[in-house]
């Protein structure tokens, strides 16, 4: 009974966090789907999003949810820049090249970030109140973050399926050579996709910063979570990432009721490897 109560209190929180994790993973999986590149600079960009919230709210006093807009624009531009500087030349090279190229971007951002912000923790003192739902307390910031994540996912879906650039992105995902033959400007589309991926990372970081303390290195943990979620939902399937995030959130909410919290990563990464082996296209992907 005690376990059941514990479950009831931790599960809603896990679900809400799951949506935000899903948003971060969506950026990673979008990039993977379009250009078969695993973006190892994902974590530091999440961290930059966190610092974005910190500066916009703490230094400028603007509401962090309005601050999401400049952070998103910044994320998009940064992604386009990273694409042209680091990724474009190695996009057809073996995987090792693109992995190391994005990792070198990771090192550059973390290096500059460490010099500017140091590695001491930051905290955004922002509160949206809380309310009781049965026996559990739900923080307003987390509820809003989850709602914004769903909203952004919806917007991404509409963009990909209803607009011309979105259709181009899907065409390049399917078959780049064929898309080029049909007159799709593939370089611009690849840059845009990379930018969208980093934009989603920056937004999720900005949302996470409203309820967790962070430093320049905290992006790494969310990057690893994004890998797990991406594989759960199927790499290259942005909408699946939201479901994957939800699964991870539920797991994180459930496991502490039965086991010590320190077992959570064991189960997460164990599951990750098993799913890679058994269903590399994700739980919902087509079986090869």
């Amino acid at each position: 009974m005690q376990q059941f109560n514990l479950l009831l209190t931790s599960l809603p929180d896990g679900i809400l966090l799951g949506f935000v994790y899903g948003l971060a993973a969506m950026g990673l999986t979008l990039i993977w789907g379009v250009m078969n590149v695993i973006n190892l600079s994902h974590g530091p960009i999440i961290a930059l999003g966190m610092f974005g919230t910190f500066f916009i709210f703490t230094n400028m006093g603007v509401n962090p949810y309005i601050g999401l807009i400049p952070i998103a624009v910044f994320g998009l531009l940064l992604g386009v820049l990273i694409y042209f500087v680091a990724v474009h030349r190695v996009i057809d090279a073996p995987h090792l090249s693109s992995l190391l190229a994005t990792f070198s971007v990771n090192m550059i951002i973390i290096g500059i970030g460490t010099a500017v912000f140091t590695t001491s923790p930051y905290n955004v003192d922002f509160n949206m109140g809380s309310f009781k739902l049965g026996s559990t307390t739900i923080l307003g910031t987390r509820l809003i973050a989850a709602l914004i994540s769903i909203l952004v996912t919806g917007a991404l879906y509409l963009f990909l399926y209803r607009t011309r650039p979105g259709k181009f992105i899907r065409a390049v995902t399917n078959n780049r050579a064929a898309a080029e033959l049909m007159g799709v400007p593939s370089t611009r589309i690849l840059a845009l996709s990379f930018g969208l991926g980093t934009m989603l990372a920056a937004i999720s970081g900005a949302l996470i910063a409203t309820f967790f303390p962070f430093n320049i290195l905290s992006g790494g943990g969310y990057e690893l979570k994004s890998f797990v979620i991406g594989v759960l939902g199927g790499l290259g399937n942005p909408i699946g990432a939201l479901v994957g995030g939800l699964i991870l959130g539920v797991l994180e909410g459930m496991i502490p009721a039965f086991l010590n919290t320190s077992w959570v990563p064991v189960i997460e990464f164990g599951l990750f490897v098993v799913i890679l082996l058994v269903r590399p296209n994700g739980l919902f992907g087509a079986k090869k």
Partner: protein, 323 residues
């Protein structure tokens, strides 16, 4: 020595490691010995990784898991069961090899980036698992009982001895690397790297060959782990399984030239030397990571074959020596 020309490639690597091993003895300087120890450790690890990465073409992002796992197992036997460091290293190397065998049977079926992701997952899962194992001291890790050093004539002597063992391990790693490169087995691995399906058609039993390459690349890191934690005096989960150290190894192999015996040695030299310089310089101290990142990016973008690979392409006459 019939066909001695085939082994010319071993000359420069042996000289390089030999010079590193003798350098602290000649200068009789403890700080030099520590620098040489770090470089030798990097050489042993990078050369081992090269067997999988350079020859077989599989990108292992979590290779450090063998270093951490072997190190933990070996240190456990040295510290808790009173085994000697030799027996500890042996059991550390064997356990890493066995882990690689079992893992290899499962994850080597994955190709390209999926394999790279799986190795990251394995490393993180192992780190989290060790964090929960009370037998290994959980999150606190294990601290070596100081009396362990007594059998080797006190701590100072033991540290000196650790240096020579590390030099031996670096030698072992590069000799394994050379033997694999010049053997028929290694030829099979390189065929897998170029085109796995074609290699299978030509009669290379790819799953077995890959698994054995994985095992070979795991044994020396396991032994290095035991020796390093023995010298350090303690081991903790986040020290034993640092993901960034795995990536540093990849950088070393890339820098020097993947798929060559000399490449990882040169890469280890260059990377550790560069890091040592940046960390101590006033100007680069704070942004040393960024500078390394820029250098890495330039290498990946413009000389993907690494220094040795580039030299081999430019000066074909040197190919025999720069193997």
């Amino acid at each position: 020595m019939k066909n001695w020309r085939n082994h010319l490639g071993l000359l420069l690597p042996l000289l390089a490691v030999g010079a590193l091993a003798i350098w602290p003895v000649i200068t009789d300087n403890i700080s030099n010995r520590e620098s040489a120890f770090t470089i030798l450790k990097a050489i042993a690890l990078a050369s081992s990784l090269n067997i999988l990465l350079g020859y077989t073409g599989y990108v292992s992002f979590g290779h450090i898991v063998f270093y951490g796992f072997g190190g933990y197992v070996g240190l456990y036997f040295v510290n808790e069961q009173g085994w000697s460091i030799w027996a500890g290293m042996l059991v550390g190397g064997i356990s890493s090899g066995v882990l690689a065998f079992l893992l290899g049977k499962a994850i080597l079926r994955l190709r390209g980036a999926y394999f790279a992701l799986a190795t990251i997952g394995v490393n993180e899962a192992m780190k989290a698992l060790v964090n929960n194992l009370d037998i290994f001291g959980g999150p606190i890790g294990m601290t070596l009982n100081f009396s362990v050093y007594k059998a080797y004539g006190g701590a100072a002597k033991a540290l000196g001895m650790a240096f020579y063992i590390m030099a031996g391990l670096a030698f072992a790693a590069l000799i394994i690397s050379h033997i694999v490169r010049t053997s028929k087995f290694g030829l099979g691995l390189q065929a897998i790297r170029e085109n796995e399906d074609a290699a299978e058609v030509m009669g290379v039993v790819a799953p077995d060959a890959k698994t054995w390459a994985y095992v070979l690349s795991a044994i020396v890191p396991g032994m290095v782990g035991v020796l390093f934690f023995f010298k350090n005096g303690n081991v903790e989960p986040h020290v034993a399984f640092p993901l960034h150290a795995s990536i540093e190894l990849l950088v070393m192999v890339m820098l020097g030239g993947q798929g060559t015996v000399l490449g990882p040695i040169l890469g280890a030299f260059a990377y550790q030397g560069m890091r040592g310089y940046f960390v101590t310089s006033d100007f680069f101290k704070d942004i040393q990571l960024s500078v390394s990142g820029v250098l890495l990016l330039l290498i990946v973008l413009f000389i993907p074959a690494g220094a040795i690979g580039w030299l081999r392409q430019r000066f074909p006459a040197l190919r025999r020596v720069l193997a």
